[in-house]
């Protein structure tokens, strides 16, 4: 266990969110540390997606505070989240199928010349760099994303988040739809991102993947925080007990 104090990038306290009569999150607090992989686990309906959508700026919390590098912030929308250095890979990938790889990689942040005109050459060059760093095979930067396989599409979505030079990268179920080989690549990529200095937050319900890659594990149950454990100090058994509620086992 490291003797250095963990550098806290983001601290959220007392986050609550209600949709209609469903209390998705109740008074949840968490910390995101520098160069640290935090896994968020929990059963269906535990509030994992809602929590990460709040951090991504897609939803606004009904109550609670968020501090980034010690300063209180309001993540008002996805653009603001990106400005604050938070990049997100959504569960449904959020790709535009009829557009090509390059357009998807830089969706919303297209490089420009003269302020309005898209710098297509730079976009293609940057796309090439991102794809080769991901170590995936893609036909070309101009192929339509809808024509790619699930694993390739997942790589594009991850590449988009990874190339934003974000301090915090959030991934919602990055391996859920992938086979063994492709999941392996994704987990490798997550480790690469950590090595490059980012903090990664991964939602997953795959215990093996969680234990393969996480430094800390945060458990949610029915919208509430059950606890946070360092991976070295816990085991899958304990985490599963926390997910379903110790009394249920």
């Amino acid at each position: 266990m490291s003797a250095e104090a963990a550098k806290i990038l983001l601290k959220a306290e007392g986050l609550s969110k209600t949709f209609g009569h469903v209390r998705a999150l109740r008074d949840v607090s968490l910390e995101i540390h520098d160069s640290d992989i935090l896994a968020i686990v929990g059963d269906n309906g535990a509030g994992k997606s809602t929590l990460t959508k709040i951090l991504s700026g897609v939803h606004q919390p009904d109550s609670g505070e968020i501090e980034l590098m010690g300063r209180p912030v309001r993540i008002a929308n996805p653009r603001k989240a990106r400005e604050l250095g938070i990049a997100t890979v959504f569960q449904n990938l959020a790709l535009v199928d009829c557009r090509d790889v390059a357009a998807n990689l830089f969706l919303g942040r297209e490089p420009t010349r003269w302020r309005f005109v898209v710098d297509r050459r730079k976009m293609l060059d940057d796309a090439r760099r991102v794809i080769s760093r991901l170590r995936v095979s893609i036909p070309s930067a101009t192929v339509e994303v809808g024509q790619l396989s699930g694993g390739q599409r997942q790589s594009i979505a991850i590449g988009r988040a990874a190339s934003q030079q974000a301090r915090i990268i959030i991934m919602d179920e990055p391996t859920a739809a992938l086979g063994v080989k492709e999941s392996h690549k994704v987990l490798d990529l997550i480790r690469q991102l950590k090595a490059a200095g980012a903090a990664v937050v991964v939602i997953s319900h795959n215990m093996r993947h969680v234990f393969s890659v996480a430094d800390r594990i945060l458990v949610l149950r029915r919208g509430q925080l059950v606890g946070v454990r360092r991976k070295q100090e816990t085991a899958p058994d304990e985490i599963v007990r926390m997910i379903v509620g110790a009394d249920a086992l």
């Binding site: 969706l107 080769s132 070309s140 101009t142």
Partner: protein, 367 residues
């Protein structure tokens, strides 16, 4: 505790890591050369197909009647195409963004009548009146945009209702009578007149709209956002694109262009009639669909819409020159639009099936 020797999870992980380490040639970045990628895109190009079909149609009409190729009838055809094509440029933006405006014909008629009143009865300077109805057109588009994106009423419903409203407004404002204007001044020369007495200014306006509209849609950040908004609005929103603003601007572009053609029509015909634009939405949306713009959004181009408008204009002009009455052209246009729609569906099904076979083969087929 079981006394069967267990593989530790670390052993398992090491074995998996070794087995899954990348082999030579895997994860190699782009697998196609630039040329292969280019050829692939060209072969799949809807614009290329439209161009070939349009050229074939042009050749067919040219052979069928020598009148078709006379400069008089070609320029006449392009002049008629201009009105549809200019608004089709804006409709392209709107459809690609995933919305629609059924009221373009009525807005066109309404704005024509307003300008007719400003110039013909209130004696405004025509350029000033044009500027005024452009502002009015932009305002019409803004209302459409707000109703659709803020209130949440589907565009189909909003513009269907306004189709009736603006038509009625045109009749009320004009008192059911066409309004004549006095055609003297630079405005009439530069809209309905001819360069060197030969080349219609209308076509200059058309080419300007197609060029500017096409470049903005394909080369600017805003254009990229239009495609993203129509392709997957939620994905665009999650990536920071202001979807509501993009859609509203597209509504404003369409209605603004309706104002421009309203002014051009007055410059050309010297008269503003309340029935102007009846059936116009059929021609505009038809042109855009023939040109490859998908009704569900995300696909298409201004150049394609321009070709679509030309093809529809060709059919109209060609059939009339061949001796058919005006009414047959609408039937032919309808048949064309339906045919194009069917072809597009068949092509995308064949494409998806071909892709499946291709990927299956690439993955090793039957092994």
């Amino acid at each position: 505790m079981s006394d069967v020797p267990q593989t530790s999870s670390q052993d398992y992980e090491d074995a998996e890591n070794a087995a899954l380490a990348p082999h030579d040639g895997e994860g190699e970045g782009f697998t196609q050369t630039a040329r292969q990628a280019f050829v692939s895109r060209v072969l799949q190009s809807r614009n290329l197909a439209t161009f070939v079909a349009g050229s074939a149609l042009f050749a067919a009409f040219s052979f069928a009647t020598p009148l078709f190729l006379s400069s008089g009838s070609l320029l006449n055809m392009m002049r008629n195409v201009s009105f549809t094509a200019i608004v089709a440029v804006g409709m392209t933006y709107l459809l690609i963004a995933g919305e629609i405006d059924l009221s373009v014909g009525s807005v066109y008629g309404f704005l024509t009548v307003v300008m007719g009143v400003l110039v013909g009865r209130l004696h405004f300077e025509p350029w000033l009146a044009m500027f005024a109805i452009i502002l009015l057109g932009l305002f019409v588009g803004l209302i459409n945009g707000l109703l659709v994106t803020r209130v949440g009423i589907p565009a189909f419903i909003v513009t269907l209702a306004l189709l009736a409203a603006y038509r009625s407004l045109a009749i009320v404002v004009s008192n059911q009578l066409p309004i004549n204007v006095d055609p003297h001044g630079s405005f009439y020369d530069l809209t309905g007149g001819y360069i060197q007495g030969v080349f219609p200014w209308l076509i200059v306006w058309l080419l300007g709209a197609v060029l500017v509209g096409g470049l903005v849609l394909s080369q600017t950040k805003f254009g990229y956002h239009v495609y993203a908004t129509g392709g997957n609005a939620e994905a665009a929103r999650n990536s920071g694109v202001d979807v509501r603003r993009v859609k509203t601007i597209c509504f404003m572009i369409v209605s603004g262009l309706c104002a421009i053609v309203a002014a051009l029509l007055i410059g050309y015909l010297h008269i503003a009639a309340p029935i102007t634009g009846t059936g116009f939405e059929f021609r505009v949306i038809g042109a855009v669909v023939v040109g490859g713009v998908a009704l569900r959004g995300g696909r298409g181009s201004v150049f394609g819409a321009f070709m679509g408008a030309c093809i529809i204009g060709m059919i109209s002009s060609g059939l009339v020159l061949l001796g058919f009455s005006q009414y047959w052209t609408d039937i032919a246009t309808g048949a064309l639009i339906m045919g194009v729609g069917a072809l597009d569906i068949l092509a995308s099904r064949a494409g998806a099936a071909g892709l499946k076979v291709f990927s299956w083969r690439k993955a090793g087929g039957l092994q």
